[in-house]
Amino acid sequence: MDEVLQQVAKLITEVVGADFLLGVEITRDTTFSDDLGLESIEFVALADKLNAHYGVDLVAFLADMDIDEIMAMSVGRLVDHITARV
């Protein structure tokens, strides 16, 4: 579990750039929308990395969510999804 969290945090850092995460520790509670402010192109890049690393389809994962769930989507929820799938 911690291993997946560490790996996801690493992939997010690669996408966003370490410079912009200074002072922001990525935890299970970090949200993609509000805390990370992931831009659409970064979201696509992260989806590619997750797919390459875990074979997990981020777009399909989000397809089941309503707007409030997507707004509240956290790193922890993604980690749980990956853990359940791999």
Binding site: F20, S33, D34, E39, I41, A63, I67, M71
Partner: protein, 375 residues
């Protein structure tokens, strides 16, 4: 001769294409009127344009204040706010004024901007044909198609408002772009007419005598940008310092290198022929105006349709995309040098320009509108 009523939100980018198409219809001898916020409309329309009020200054100020709050949001919260706090309330607010305008003016056709939901609602209730003025091409391909529950939520909001999905007319959708740039095929009702630039009114002054140098670049983030815009503009200033080009930057006064001409607003369309490249947030009008002049682009999309528009530019090979909230001076400088120095970007922009010319602009839009009246 026929009567056309344009229904528009209080947003410059949404009024501009209607100013051009309406101007063309007027030149052909038709009767044309606009309904919306008179204070926003008047500076963008001909002196003798007929304007009906649907939004007063208080409502308009409230909308602007909301958009300020909206700029601070990120991610999916932007979309939620856009529909719940902006589009639907704006639709309700405009219904009485649009109803009055329809009753007083008696149009043959209602031309509704895609963000003026009152237009289709009122037209339908009055039994009038209505068509869509799509001020961006980005929503033709439903950006929510990969998120069916979010898409259903939008449809529910529209059903509550108007009893149906009124985003696009099934009679005619005017799109101010080309099929080549959008890169998809659509039904016959979707008319790619290219940017509508004829008859446009620009009342902003410009110090033409201060244009110097061999190469010139416009940097503009549009009328809405917020704090992240300040960050981007300061990085852009650092990026262009010492480069052998003149930069026209649309921003409030601030310290800048000597090769930067800083102005709070510019007559953008008149400026285009004097430029070599444009750095923009990816607003549909600015991007298409630049491409209509064969200018390559650096696009740093902020939100809404802008990422889609930026992707169109990149796919066409006519520009470089940057990450708006994180691009550094070095990234901006390198992107700018690429589009200016590598001729393939300009060549690709030229190809888009040719597709726009073939699309026909305001005249093609007017032809299609006349056909709607003819039935």
């Amino acid at each position: 001769m026929s009567r056309f009523l344009f229904v528009v939100p209080p947003l410059t980018g949404h009024v501009n294409p209607t100013a051009s198409v309406g101007g063309e219809l007027l030149a052909r001898g038709h009767d044309v009127a606009w309904v919306g916020h008179p204070g926003t409309l008047a500076p963008l329309l001909p002196d003798d344009a007929r304007i009906f009020p649907a939004i007063d200054d208080v409502v308009e100020a409230d909308i602007r204040a909301k958009r300020e709050r909206w700029l601070a949001l990120r991610g999916m919260a932007v979309l939620k706010f856009f529909w719940e706090e902006f589009l639907i309330p704006l639709g309700h607010a405009m219904v009485p004024g649009v109803s009055d305008a329809v009753a007083l003016f008696g149009p043959d056709v209602v031309v509704a901007d895609q963000q003026a939901l009152a237009g289709p609602l009122v037209a339908r209730n009055a039994g009038l044909p209505w068509v869509t003025s799509a001020s961006t091409s980005a929503e033709l391909v439903n950006p929510l198609r990969t998120m069916p529950k979010v898409d259903a939520w939008v449809r529910d909001l529209l059903h509550d408002f108007a009893g149906g999905d009124i985003r696009f007319s099934d009679r005619l959708v005017l799109v101010y772009s080309s099929a080549a740039l959008v890169g998809e095929e659509f039904g016959d009702e979707v008319a790619f007419v290219g940017p509508a630039l004829a008859h446009r009114v620009e009342r902003v002054e410009f110090p033409w005598e201060r244009l110097t140098g061999q190469r010139r670049v416009l940097v503009s983030l549009g009328t809405l940008n917020g704090p992240a815009g300040e960050r981007f503009l300061s990085q852009a200033l650092e990026a262009v310092a010492g480069l052998d080009l003149q930069v026209v930057m649309v921003a409030e006064p601030r310290p800048a290198p000597p090769n930067v001409l800083m102005l709070p607003s510019v007559p953008q369309l008149a400026l285009m022929p004097h430029l070599d490249a444009v750095v923009t947030h990816g607003g549909h009008n600015t991007v298409c105006e630049a491409l209509a002049h064969g200018l390559p682009l650096v696009v740093a999309p902020i939100r809404d349709d802008q990422p889609t528009v930026a992707a169109q530019v990149v796919a066409a090979g006519a520009g470089v995309r940057l990450t708006y909230s994180r691009a550094r001076a070095a990234d901006i400088r390198s992107a700018l040098e690429s589009v200016l120095d590598e001729p393939e970007y300009t060549a690709a922009a030229e190809l888009v320009r040719e597709s726009f010319l073939a699309a026909g602009g305001a005249a093609a839009a007017a032809d299609r509108l006349e056909k709607v009246v003819a039935g």
